[in-house]
Symmetry: C2
Subunit: 197 residues, 2 copies
């Protein structure tokens, strides 16, 4: 009937790993830390993920997959480029304000990219390429329709937008103020979205 998901331990491990990574990066946690919060023994994690690289590679790969399906669904529900950008920014504003996802896993991992195992680094790069490509498409479409105002090539505007989002996450963290993110994104969106009257 339905695709069975008999054991959620692997998911629990991934969830624990994600929260540790967003707190302190790849080297900021150990198998022992995960074992503590999941409630199993350290060795049992190796049963699900033979090595730390496996664990984090799987985590980032799934993170990208979720982003792909999320963006696809978002585009189906909210097709207008200005709303797409607003919704994307609003999603992160929400995540940061309720502390559920205080920063993007891949933004954090990218910052320590030279120290990452190459398999993980490759997945992080793939995420950046996807997100940048998606934003470029949205901005391109918005510019063609006249619903977005751009001052440079869509690709460049997309990279700038993404950079501002990631930088705003870091600033929110530095100030310990969850509203900093929305404060920074408000004018950034304003500049892209033409005033209506």
């Amino acid at each position: 009937m339905s695709m069975d998901k008999p054991s959620n331990t692997a998911d629990d491990i991934l969830a624990a790993a994600r929260s540790f990574i967003v707190a302190g990066g790849y080297n900021g946690f150990s198998y022992a830390d995960i074992a503590d919060v999941v409630g199993i023994r350290k060795a049992s994690i190796h049963h699900h993920f033979p090595s730390k690289v496996d664990l984090v590679r799987t985590l980032v790969k799934r993170y990208l997959e979720d982003a792909v399906t999320g963006m696809t669904e978002l585009e189906r529900n909210v097709p207008a480029p200005p709303q797409l950008l607003r919704t994307y920014a609003g999603f992160w504003a929400q995540c940061i304000e309720d502390a559920s996802r205080p920063i993007c896993v891949c933004a954090l991992l990218a910052s320590e990219l030279p120290a990452l195992p190459p398999e993980v680094a490759a997945e992080v790069r793939a995420y950046f390429q996807f997100l940048s490509g998606w934003l470029t498409g949205v901005i391109e479409r918005g510019a063609a329709q006249g619903t977005l105002t751009i001052a440079a090539a869509p690709r460049v505007e997309a990279e700038a937008f993404m950079a501002t989002v990631h930088g705003a996450m870091i600033s929110a963290r530095a100030y310990g103020d969850v509203l900093t993110f929305s404060m920074i994104l408000a004018p950034t969106l304003q500049k892209l979205i033409p005033a209506r009257d």
Copy 2:
């Protein structure tokens, strides 16, 4: 006669630590790593910096001091707000392109702030507050003179500018392309600096 600086070992240790931190963050290096590149034994590092927290706190504190003196001097030589922003962005573009300082130490540490020892976290916050304050002053002045065009309060524009700079550093790292930084900053500066003709 002159202020003597008899031993540069402490500085060598700090320099090595900085390059390890920009590569992989606070947990991305060990005393053994530093000992290897400096050419002394692990225990000797403890003579200069009793603990890892001492080492990194000193590093970030000095990083902020250098920023303060650097900005002060920059403002004396190049007083016009548009040029100040351009020079600041150009400084980092240069650092990233020649790989001498591929990312800001504090931007990286801020991303893993929850996992940092509180003493280090405090220094990182101080850096953000200084930089944000400096940029706010520059933008405020530029707006008052009419040499900068702003769409939001100077404070907000300053935070957005800083966030874009930090995000652009991360993107450059993710793509492994040192020119990404300047590509992102070009339109960001353009939007602030009114066209001349």
